[in-house]
């Protein structure tokens, strides 16, 4: 994998020279991240159509096992990565956030598909959450509806690059008083209470879609209902 750069402070020529004599100089970070990057266990968590594309990615043709991620753990306790694959509805949001809280550190979130990123085709629904990044921090966004299995694999490689860039000296999951438990929203009379978690997500300052079409794109108030019976058709004389 050529995209993995070894950031140890030894100058590269010396290291390559010694590598020829089978002496490998590396940093503890590289080993630590190599281990974590090559065995990211996703959680078995499929919501909608993207889950079928995730299964296709896990099947024989686009093999996710080549990235070490083929073991879909059923329980959140043993999973490192939550692939949010599908539409997150308001009724499902408390479950998704509770599952995220139950995952063990270090944990990552990959928002797969337009629905998990921003509500996607169903953004105007009254029961659809406009993107899972309103309640839990998302590490990698994979757009598409559904994204091709290779796009998911590319997203997984992007996540591996992010894992590589972390060093365990400054890793936040070893700090004392780590607070990565996000409050689980409740189901209120019109939708979720709260509508989003301001610590993680703030609405965009200038949102072109909202200014032009309003928060929900609706065609407008139709004043006249259709009359299905033929209007003013003389009743046929013979009954």
């Amino acid at each position: 994998m050529n995209h993995i750069e070894n950031k140890s402070r030894i100058d590269p020529e010396l290291r390559d020279e010694m590598a020829k004599q089978n002496i490998f100089i590396t940093s503890l970070d590289f080993i630590y991240n190599w281990g974590r990057r090559s065995s990211v266990w996703p959680m078995q968590f499929g919501l909608a159509c993207c889950a079928i594309e995730m299964i296709a990615a896990a099947a024989a043709r686009y093999d996710i096992a080549r990235f070490g991620a083929e073991l879909f753990r059923a329980s959140p306790r043993q999973a490192d990565l939550m692939i949010v694959a599908g539409t997150v509805t308001k009724k499902m949001t408390p479950n998704v956030v509770r599952l995220y809280n139950q995952m063990a550190e270090p944990k990552y979130v990959l928002a797969m598909g337009a629905c998990a990123i921003s509500g996607g085709p169903f953004i105007d629904g009254y029961n659809v959450l406009r993107g899972i990044d309103r309640f839990i921090p998302v590490d990698v966004y994979v757009p598409g509806c559904p994204p091709r299995p290779e796009a998911l694999l590319y997203g997984l490689m992007e996540l591996q690059k992010k894992i590589d860039s972390q060093t365990f000296t400054k890793a936040e999951w070893y700090q004392k008083g780590l607070k990565r438990e996000f409050p689980v929203p409740e189901l209120g009379p019109n939708g979720l209470i709260p509508k989003f978690n301001p610590e993680i997500w703030q609405p965009r300052e200038q949102d072109a879609r909202k200014t032009r079409y309003g928060q929900t794109v609706l065609t407008g108030k139709k004043q006249k209902a259709p009359r299905l019976e033929p209007v003013a058709v003389p009743p046929p004389p013979a009954a």
Binding site: Q44, F45, G46, L47, A48, C49, A51, I52, E53, I55, A56, A59, A60, R61, A74, G86, T87, T89, K91, M92, N95, L99, C115, P121, F122, D124, G125, Y126, N127, V128, C145, P146, R148, V217, L218, T219, K222, K224, A225, P226, R227, L228
Partner: protein
């Protein structure tokens, strides 16, 4: 089975939560258990209620095609087919010959894809960890290549238009379909050799989750589940929509209506679909693939403003009767748009079938009903 006295303290209510490996997506069952046997089962759905009907009422008629793919996302071509029929009945659009043949080819390929995945997931529920599913997904990938070649996207095809299909089937695409379909009977024999006579499958599925005939009809069950109970009702034969009356294919019927029958009916239906596709490829005529009158609709969807009226178009989707009820009021947006989802109606008898069975059987029964949450919750 001796009648055990139901004394209350024994029962325990557990929850097959919205996130559970056995529920196909975000489906939730609350089961009341007496030891291992199930005494009561309530289903809680709505976790994927994505407001398909409200959004469709704000789109133009052709704009809704892209959303029908996401109803039953295992086979998007059949959903397009149903919606196209309903709108064509509403506006009185005729479909040229070649387009009808292309539609039947694509619909039957989608039926094969759906039944392949159903059998794969049913075996996953039985505990055969992913092996049959890998065989099924391997064949599915070949058919998805055809869908991508023809319509542009693997799963969300958005291929049908009012009065025909979006683009034509070239010669080598037809050859590609012929090659894939000619391999399918051999694969189905291998798949049956792997599964049908397997003792574990037979013991786990036979006489489990039986569905009597009269309950099936009264509960509005349609599709392979109904035919597994022995009732000969296939909308391709009764309504003879599109050009299904030109192809001769048999409708497999089950005897006992249990999980094994539902599995076996779907295997035989795949064989019938292969026959239909072969006959359709042999008989496809030349000609236009889209009705000339509806060409301007491609460029400007707001021209489709049918007069005030209502129409109900229904097809035989792999899960049952998929119906679209459209009420138009003369504006480019439908006034009322309702989808009769077979996955939802087939769930009405889940409790009757599961009461008295073990927990492991309840998961297999749910798997044999073949629900897809995008269609159940709409």
């Amino acid at each position: 089975m001796s009648e055990t006295i139901l004394n209350e303290p024994q029962t325990l209510e557990i929850n097959f939560g919205p996130q559970h490996p056995s529920t196909h997506g975000v489906f939730r069952m609350r089961a009341v258990l007496d030891g291992e046997t199930i005494r009561g089962l309530k289903l809680v759905i709505g976790y994927l209620h994505r407001n398909h009907e409200q959004i469709a009422e704000n789109l133009t008629y052709p704009g809704v095609f892209a959303y029908t793919d996401r109803l039953d996302y295992l086979n998007s071509m059949q959903n397009n087919f149903g919606y196209a029929l309903a709108a064509e009945k509403l506006a009185g659009i005729t479909v040229p010959e070649r387009a009808e043949y292309i539609r039947v080819i694509m619909a039957e390929l989608a039926r094969i894809v759906n039944h392949l995945l159903l059998v794969g997931f049913l075996l996953n529920d039985l505990g055969a960890f992913f092996t049959p599913c890998l065989y099924a997904v391997r064949e599915r990938e070949r058919i998805l290549d055809i869908f991508e070649d023809v319509s542009g996207s693997r799963m969300m095809c958005n291929y049908f238009r009012f009065g025909g299909v979006k683009n034509d089937l070239t010669e080598n695409q037809l050859g590609e379909i012929r090659k894939v379909v000619s391999r399918l009977p051999a694969f189905l024999d291998e798949f049956e050799a792997l599964l049908s006579k397997n003792e574990i499958l037979c013991m786990r599925c036979q006489n489990v989750g039986g569905l009597p005939k009269d309950l099936a009809v009264n509960a509005g069950i349609t599709g392979p589940m109904l035919r597994a109970s022995g009732i000969n009702y296939d909308i391709r034969k009764t309504d003879r929509y599109s050009i299904y009356d030109r192809f001769d294919f048999k409708v497999p019927l089950g005897q006992k209506g249990d999980v094994y029958d539902r599995y076996y009916v779907r295997i035989l239906e795949m064989r019938e679909s292969v026959k239909i596709v072969e006959q359709a490829i042999a008989g496809i005529p030349r000609g236009e693939f889209l009705n000339a009158k509806t060409l301007p609709l491609l460029r400007n969807p707001r021209l489709f403003k049918p007069a005030a009226g209502e129409a109900y178009g229904r097809i035989e989707s792999p899960k049952g009767e998929l119906g679209y009820y459209l009420v138009s009021d003369g504006t480019p947006q439908p006034w009322r748009y309702h989808v009769r989802a077979p996955s939802l109606i087939n769930l009405t008898v889940l409790e009757e079938m599961c009461v008295g069975q073990k927990i492991a059987d309840a998961i297999v029964i749910l798997g044999s009903i073949d629900i897809v949450l995008g269609e159940t919750d709409r």
